[in-house]
């Protein structure tokens, strides 16, 4: 089965997924926002967001979303979460009603507090899209390092379709039906990565990091269950797997941001030096609002929110987190 694929978003993750699809023999068109990125893909098969990688030559890039989306049987949404609605709206006029849509962006829309598949489904209105998530540094995916992810859809046939399209020797794709759990795992882990970075910036060690990750998964699971997700999803690749990767692998944008803040920088100072957004910053706001709406206790999310937006001291906030009353482990 050879598909015509449109990948919307030429950041590291969108480009790595485009590369996987091209290696599977599909025709792949990639939409990029930055014209220099589009030109480099077409002329040199490179992308500065994926340094050191030579992309599959069958990938063509364009800045015109109509050129990319028209006629595509598989559409992959991979723009940053805060622009996903706007990008989907610009793609919508060109979308085939029979297309399968995979959502690889990870985040929670501000104000609406919608997950990315909800945003995309709201705009496209062609049936449920498929969430793709799991522990997957883009550079490793693009360089053919073994990776396992999940695709989740309420419609199991669509999930299997995406599984077949993406699966390859080094890229294992498992199916899931818990879309909310898979998406929340991928989104909330970015807030935990900021927390881990702050702890590292303060000089805390591996023991504290492991405790933070463990307690982080507990509160992610608690919010997920309140929103209708399965607890077991958070013990899987899109929950624990992605959380562990992002909090312990090479420094992600979110962890680096936390690290700088733990060392004393303010959020404004860190953001002023960056071209790309750390999803965890936006998600800290959305997650806190979701937790409040559903009456769920999320002390680590509260701590990150307090440090990023309320001027709280990193050290005092982290000390408070570590020094909550002694109690049984299964209590909150």
């Amino acid at each position: 089965m050879t598909l015509t694929c449109a990948v919307i978003g030429a950041g590291a993750w969108g480009t790595a997924l485009a590369d996987r699809l091209a290696h599977n023999g599909h025709a792949v068109r990639l939409w990029g926002y930055e014209t220099d990125v589009v030109d480099a893909i077409n002329q040199h098969h490179t992308n500065r967001f994926l340094a050191g990688i030579t992309l599959h030559p069958a990938i063509t890039a364009s800045h015109e979303i109509g050129e990319v989306v028209t006629g595509a049987g598989l559409v992959v949404m991979a723009a940053p979460s805060h622009v996903t609605r706007a990008v989907a709206e610009s793609a919508h006029p060109f979308l085939s009603s029979s297309a399968a849509v995979v959502v690889a962006s990870k985040g929670i829309e501000q104000h609406s507090l919608a997950l990315m598949t909800e945003v995309v489904d709201d705009v496209f209105d062609i049936g449920p899209s498929i969430a793709l998530s799991g522990p997957s540094f883009a550079a490793e995916v693009a360089s053919g390092q073994p990776t396992a992810v999940v695709v989740a859809c309420a419609d199991v046939e669509r999930a299997r379709f995406a599984q077949q399209a993406f699966s390859g020797q080094t890229f294992r794709v498992y199916t899931q039906d818990d879309v909310v759990g898979v998406e929340l795992g991928g989104s909330l882990k970015n807030v935990m990565a900021v927390a881990t970075g702050i702890a590292e910036g303060l000089g805390l060690g591996f023991n504290a990091r492991a405790a933070l990750i463990t307690r982080g998964l507990v509160e992610m699971t608690r919010l997920g269950v309140a929103l209708g997700a399965k607890a077991s999803t958070f013990a899987g690749l899109a929950g624990m797997g992605d959380l562990v990767l992002t909090c312990t692998g090479s420094l992600s944008r979110n962890r680096t941001l936390g690290l700088e803040i733990g060392k004393g920088a303010t959020l404004d100072e860190v953001l002023a030096t960056r071209e790309t957004v750390a999803e965890g910053v936006i998600t800290a706001r959305s997650a806190r609002a979701l937790a409040e709406r559903h009456g769920v206790s999320m002390p680590i999310v509260d701590a990150v929110h307090g440090v990023l937006f309320d001027g709280r001291s990193s050290r005092e906030t982290m000390n408070e987190l570590m020094n909550r009353d002694l109690r049984a482990e299964q209590d909150s």
Copy 2:
């Protein structure tokens, strides 16, 4: 409350726990097997198993187990798991029947397949001992880095007693009643650390490591539930927390051993260069036997066992693990 404490085993972990107890104002006697280690503790407050740390001066060490155990109200078992029964037998004649016993050793006895609290309770016969486990590199504990662990006992009053004895500003202790889950978590994670090391030795990346850790926790939980543990324990500090620490923190003995084997060394070659035992090697045998006895599928344990003891190739075994049939994530 000031206790007289006996810590049996002057390796890194026993010594770090002795140091915590001394910092809490308790009188601490430490039994060491190596006489040079005993002398260094008494004369210089140092231990070569905890390089760079100055121990609390109130710790006294001895090679005579009777001197250490007689009159102790709290006894901490911290010898390697394969000598725990023999060491407990030598301590038994001096043990007060009113002592609380904390078991900090992590492993599964060969042949009997008993957990360490079962071994100790079998020898001491003074009521249930307390398992202490969780993400805790000894060097970080001894240097006062924030750490969170659990103490588990069927008798909740004993667990609370241990919690009070060990808790301090930088050492948080949570109580648990799932002794089997807590002990299995601490034991089985060492096998997963060997697996992670093998993957690293073969040159696999962070994505593969995160997938291995995730699937590792799934099979640890599966065995635990078959043995009567709670699945939720494996999502806690003694399960996921310790697993993440050991597989991602600085190189543990188990991960280093796996790394060398992944790079092509045989088990005999690696063991010939070491003074101390990597618990994961012994636990790979015991865990495989437990899984067979209970009819539980543990593909990662099988893989480690095959590479360590059956002469299987690291690369082929790891490829097979990574390339199991595509399926839904919740299936085995």
